[in-house]
Symmetry: C2
Subunit: 402 residues, 2 copies
Amino acid sequence: MGTSVDDHRRSIRALLAPLARREPVVRPLDRALGLALATDLIAPLSLPPFDNSQMDGFAVRSADFAAGHEFAAAEPIPAGAVPVPLARGQAAPIMTGAMLPEGADAVVPVERARPPRFPDAAELSDHARVVLPSVEPGTFVRRAGSDVAAGDVVLAAGARLGPAQLGLAAALGLAEVPARPPLRVAVLSTGAELAVPGEPLSPGQIYDSNGTLLVAALREAGIDARATAVRSDEPDALRAALAGAAESADLLVTTGGVSKGAFEATKLALAGADVEFVHLALQPGGPQGIGTVGGVPFLGFPGNPVSCWVSWEILLRPVLAELLGAPAPRPRLRLPLADPLDSPSRKLQVRRARLLTDGRVSLVGGPGSHLLGALAASDALVLVPEDVTELPVGASVEVWLL
Amino acid sequence: MGTSVDDHRRSIRALLAPLARREPVVRPLDRALGLALATDLIAPLSLPPFDNSQMDGFAVRSADFAAGHEFAAAEPIPAGAVPVPLARGQAAPIMTGAMLPEGADAVVPVERARPPRFPDAAELSDHARVVLPSVEPGTFVRRAGSDVAAGDVVLAAGARLGPAQLGLAAALGLAEVPARPPLRVAVLSTGAELAVPGEPLSPGQIYDSNGTLLVAALREAGIDARATAVRSDEPDALRAALAGAAESADLLVTTGGVSKGAFEATKLALAGADVEFVHLALQPGGPQGIGTVGGVPFLGFPGNPVSCWVSWEILLRPVLAELLGAPAPRPRLRLPLADPLDSPSRKLQVRRARLLTDGRVSLVGGPGSHLLGALAASDALVLVPEDVTELPVGASVEVWLL
């Protein structure tokens, strides 16, 4: 009853495996967002690089409290300065992030001092004194290496470089990182029925939305995607477009023409090629093509907008996330249904849905693969396993967040 | 005990409210990803635009079954064609998405026909006949307007234009959309202790990571963000940098210099300006500045990397999502804790966390605001309300997914 989704993902993974071995690119941090790290990132220094104060306060030697609570105010220590060592009986005004002076092992927040403020310049030159409550060693001190130790693998090869990962690289003093190059994907929407948005619609035609939909989805995932519309069912037209696209793409994706009809343009155009057409146990998104065209990996997605988008989300995106590290996989959780549902037996059904504020998930629109308006109102997918044919309100389902 | 987070968000909202009234820009669909729609989008046509077939099959008039199950095969109808009306007793081979011929009201999938295939050209010219099982009117027909009706508001002003929304606009024949212009944000990281990644680190210095972190976070959210590092505590240096940035920014954000220390560069530089410095009931992210500089909205975030990033996620991002429609708000849910936690009383504590595959959420690192390595290992935030000081394993907490 159709190839399983897992099996087809494995086929896609095998097809795309060589893409994981492309030559890394070295990118400055501000041009690496959304790419995957090409090699393990090893910390060249510790974070924090030195013991520093967690508070605006007074740096003290905790053992000095044995001799009393009144301290001589030392020179203030701003962040960025290299402080002079702390003498016995001294308390040094220290700012958040500033290096702890040699001899100090704790910080008393300024608001707990008497007086509860920093001495001004005149007071300092007049040998100001300050009374402090006792503290344990280590209080309000951020120890060198307490976040990251020099030599640690802080990010593994394949980690997606989001804001936090790039911020971490900067904190480690790195100006650039080795990254896997962004994937170049050519999206070819096919069909004699396609009209160009902005131009008049003839009877029987529909506007081409798959190119816009899929390219936007790929770009949002950090992929270098370009759309071409092949508004013809002539095999030669699609073959020529594919040959042109293959020159500068890592992956070719068509939409449409892979089903069981009498005029399946993509099937006809690739009849002699290294491409297999299969029917997956998946609704929507059942008809699929997979192979190579001109030596370039090829995927043939179905032509209904929701089918083609589900093919990306359920088949291609998870493989890229696992194989290349980018894009990020969709967060997956289990939530209770707010609506009952029916699902065909022996097919993985993928429904569009919305998270409710009460923690349940509500279906948007029906299972139909043409319901683009409903898709635009969704923020989640509900996956109904192959062996499930109906679920009541309250049933726990697998949810992927968009 | 500090300004509440809700109150400060209201202040930010009031400060930024004029940004919602900027002149819309008209963008082609392929340059609108991630922007917010400027006006309601009204469907100029219905989707589907016409009754069409959901299957590869035979279009029939269901009433004809009263006269028998054998039909004369009519001319095939490919997608994109305008079919001739269906005569009594005829069944027209019809492809998925093709327009239903006048007179037809149902489709029988080809695999249920006898023979279970489409007649070829020779059979058609030889008056091929086909035997079909009865169907109810409407079977496997996608009615015109069943997804979207012409005249419907399909997307409200402020809707974020993601892939599905842009795909919907394309399906409706729109080549461009009115969008709110992307926000231009200047990020100025401040502090004499800052070193430039890629250059040597002097003792007491740290590498500037806030610029990279915050600009990447803003860009990922579709904001046009630029970083400047002001590696000085001289008030004039920051004032000059702010004046320069104010010329081409909708919002100025500094990091650092807003706390209670003796050398708070941002506070000193803006002592005479229309800027208020407050302390929020928030950990991390307590010290904050808000106001205008040179007539441009100004936010002063604290200088620790996690504090400055939390300020963006907890304070600024939700306000932009609500006020402008982009970026998208973070998905929020309630999940059980996998670890116990402590939280200061009267402060909203924001902890970094990871979703576990068992549906629980696990804390990453401690509450410290310098733990950038831990942040880079997180995919969620846990928000602990002001009145909660400890929570056991299994307690349900508010989670924001990153």
